[in-house]
Symmetry: C2
Subunit: 354 residues, 2 copies
C-alpha cells in the first residue's frame, strides 16, 4: 500500500482533528500515513493517543502554513516550506501516492498544479465533488472550482476525468456522463457548452448521455455532471447556502412551533440524523479529488474534523491504487487518435468530392 501524505496543519481544526483522523484511518484501514507539519505539535498529539511508535505513522516536518485568507499563488511561491507544498512534493517524488489537503482550496489546487504537476495533455486539473442524489448514491460534479476560464477542451477533458474516476475509482459500470447546460436539447446554452456537446457526441472513446440540467445533479440520472469551475463552484456554494437555510428554517419551525413542535422534533431527531443529515454530510466521503495531476490529491473542507479526514485518507488510497494518471494519458491518446482519424477521413471524403 502506498503512503498517504496528510497536511496536518490545514483547516480550521488543525493539527488536532487532522492527526486524530489520520490515526483513525491507520487503525481502521491500515493505511500508512505521513503527517506533514510542525513536528512537535504532531508528536504531542500522537503521544497523547499512544501512537508515537506506530510504524504506519511518519512525521515529515514542515515549518510554514498557508492560511485560509492568503492568495494561493503568492503564498505558494513565498512559503517554500508550507505543509501543503511539502506534501505535494512528497507525491511528486513518489514517496507518497497521494496528498490529503484540508484548508484553502486555492492553496491545494496550486500545490497540485505546481507541486505535483499536470498530466501531459491535460490543460487544467479539475475538482470532482460527490453530491448526494435521490437514488442514495453520489453524482460527481466536475469541475467544481479549479479553473474558471473554460475552453471547449476543458469540458471534454473534464468529461474524460470524470468518466475515469466514476468507472475506475467509484466502480460504476457504464457511468452516465452529462454536460451541465440550461436545456436538454443539444443546441441550447452558451456557445462553449454547445460546441463541447458536439465534440462529446462525435467521439466514441467515453460514453456521453447528453445535456444535464441543474436539477439533474441530484436526481441520480447521471453519475457524472460535467461543467466549468466557475459554474461548479457557484453551484456547490449555493448548495451549501441552501443547506444552511433549510437548517435555519427547521430550527425556526421548532422554536416557533411551540411545545407540540418541540416534542415532534425530539421524536423525529434520530431518524432525521440518520436518513437526512448523514447522506448530506461531506464527512461521510471526506473530500474532493483534484484530477488531471500526476498523483492523488484530496481537497478537504476547511471545517473538516477527524471523521472527514479519515474518509479522505481512504479516498486518497482508492485514487492512488488505480494509477489514474496512466489511464488518463491512454484515454487522451485514444481520443486524439480517433479525432485525427476522423478528420483525415473527412479530408479524404472532401478530396473525392472535389
Amino acid at each position: 500500500m502506498e503512503k498517504i501524505a496528510v497536511d496536518a496543519m490545514g483547516g480550521d481544526f488543525a493539527p488536532l482533528e487532522i492527526v486524530l483522523g489520520s490515526i483513525q484511518a491507520v487503525r481502521e484501514f491500515k493505511i500508512p500515513v505521513v503527517l506533514v507539519g510542525d513536528k512537535e505539535q504532531i508528536l504531542t498529539i500522537l503521544k497523547n493517543n499512544h501512537e508515537e511508535n506506530n510504524p504506519l505513522i511518519e512525521i515529515h516536518h514542515a515549518s510554514e502554513v498557508i492560511e485560509m485568507g492568503e492568495h494561493p499563488g503568492l503564498a505558494y511561491r513565498k512559503k517554500k516550506d508550507a505543509s501543503v507544498s511539502v506534501g505535494a512534493r512528497l507525491v511528486r517524488a513518489k514517496e507518497c501516492g497521494a496528498l490529503v489537503a484540508p484548508g484553502s482550496t486555492g492553496a491545494a489546487v496550486t500545490a497540485g498544479l505546481l507541486g505535483i504537476g499536470r498530466i501531459k495533455g491535460i490543460e487544467r486539473p479539475a475538482i470532482l465533488t460527490p453530491i448526494p442524489n435521490e437514488k442514495g448514491r453520489y453524482t460527481y460534479l466536475i469541475d467544481s472550482g479549479a479553473s474558471a476560464q473554460p475552453k471547449v477542451e476543458t469540458y471534454v477533458q473534464n468529461a474524460i476525468l470524470g468518466y475515469i474516476y466514476a468507472s475506475k475509482v467509484a466502480g460504476i459500470k457504464n457511468p452516465r456522463i452529462g454536460l451541465l447546460n440550461i436545456g436538454e436539447e443539444d443546441t441550447k446554452g452558451s456557445p462553449l457548452v454547445t460546441e463541447a456537446n458536439k465534440v462529446l457526441q462525435n467521439q466514441s472513446i467515453i460514453p456521453f448521455s447528453g445535456n444535464a440540467e441543474g436539477r439533474d445533479i441530484m436526481t441520480g440520472e447521471f453519475d457524472v455532471v460535467v461543467t466549468d469551475g466557475f459554474t461548479g463552484n457557484v453551484v456547490l456554494k449555493f448548495g451549501e447556502g441552501a443547506g444552511k437555510l433549510v437548517k435555519t428554517l427547521l430550527k425556526d419551525a421548532v422554536t416557533k412551533g411551540g411545545i407540540r413542535a418541540k416534542i415532534g422534533a425530539l421524536l423525529l431527531a434520530p431518524a432525521l440524523k440518520k436518513y437526512l443529515a448523514k447522506p448530506m454530510d461531506y464527512a461521510e466521503y471526506g473530500g474532493a479529488p483534484l484530477l488531471g495531476i500526476n498523483g492523488g490529491l484530496i481537497i478537504c473542507h476547511g471545517a473538516s474534523k477527524a471523521k472527514a479526514i479519515k474518509n479522505a485518507i481512504r479516498m486518497a488510497e482508492d485514487v492512488c491504487k488505480e494509477n489514474l494518471d496512466k489511464v488518463v494519458t491512454e484515454t487522451l491518446a485514444q481520443l486524439n487518435e480517433s479525432t485525427k482519424a476522423e478528420s483525415e477521413e473527412e479530408k479524404s471524403v472532401t478530396d473525392k468530392e472535389i
Copy 2:
C-alpha cells in the same frame, strides 16, 4: 389601475387554475384582468364561479397555445394567435400594463422580447427571481435564465435592472447589489465577470457592494445578486433539485424511522408547513418578472396553481405602476453620460501628460 393580461392557457393546470387565480386576484386586490385564451373554456369556468358579469374581468380570445415542449422562437413565429403572444401584444398596444405568463419560460421570454419589445439601450431582457434568504426576506437573482451568452455589459445592465426592481418595486432602501463570482476578491473569477466588477466599481449611478459567492444568495447579505442567464438558470434548477432531494430524504426518514418518527412528524408537521415550506414556496410571490422590456411580464412556473397566479397578478400590478421602462431609460442615460464624462476626463489628463 392598469389592466393585467393573463395567459389563461399556459402551464400544466390551464385554464382552470389560471382562471381561478385571476378571480382571486380580482376579488382580493380589485385588479382588473384580461383573460387571454379560448373564450368558451374561460367563460365556462367564470360561469361556474358566478363571475361572468364581473366588470373587472374581460376575455380576449386567442385560438392557439404554445406547448411546453415546443421550440419557443419557432412556435412564436408560427402561432400568431397563441395566447402568450396575443397577451404580449395587448401590453405593447398599452391596453394592458403587464402580462402574466405561466408555462414555457422560453415562450414567455420570446413574447416579451418580440411581442412587447426591449427598452432602447437594453441588449437582452433578464429574468429576476426572488430566492428566500436566511433573514426571512428575498434575494433577487438576475438573470435567472433569459440570456445564456453574456458580455460585460450584460452584467452591468442586469445590475441596473435588479437595482431598479429592488428599490422601486420591492421598496428596499439602499439595496445591496452583489456580482456572483467564485471569490470575494475583485480580481477573481472569469474574465467577463472580473471586467464587469471593474465597470461596476468605477460608476456611481447605482450602488455596488462587490462580489457575492454562491452561498451569499441565501444569507440575505445581498438584496440583488447579478449573474448571467446560464449560471442563474443552473443555480435555480439546482435549487429546485435540492429542495426535492430534501423532501425525498425527509419522507425517507419518516418511513424508515418507525412509529417514533411517524408520531414526531405528525406533531412537527404544522410548524414545518408554516415556517419551512411556506417561505420556500414560489406560490407565495407568484412568479419572476422579465425586466428590460417596455411593459410588465411575470413568468410563472409551469406547475402554477391559483394561489401562484393570484400573487403573480399582484406582482404584475406592482411592476407596471412603477413605470420601470422610464426609470431604466433614465438610469442607462445617466450611466452613459458618466462613462462619457469619465473617458473625456481621462483623455484630457492623458493630453496634459503628453
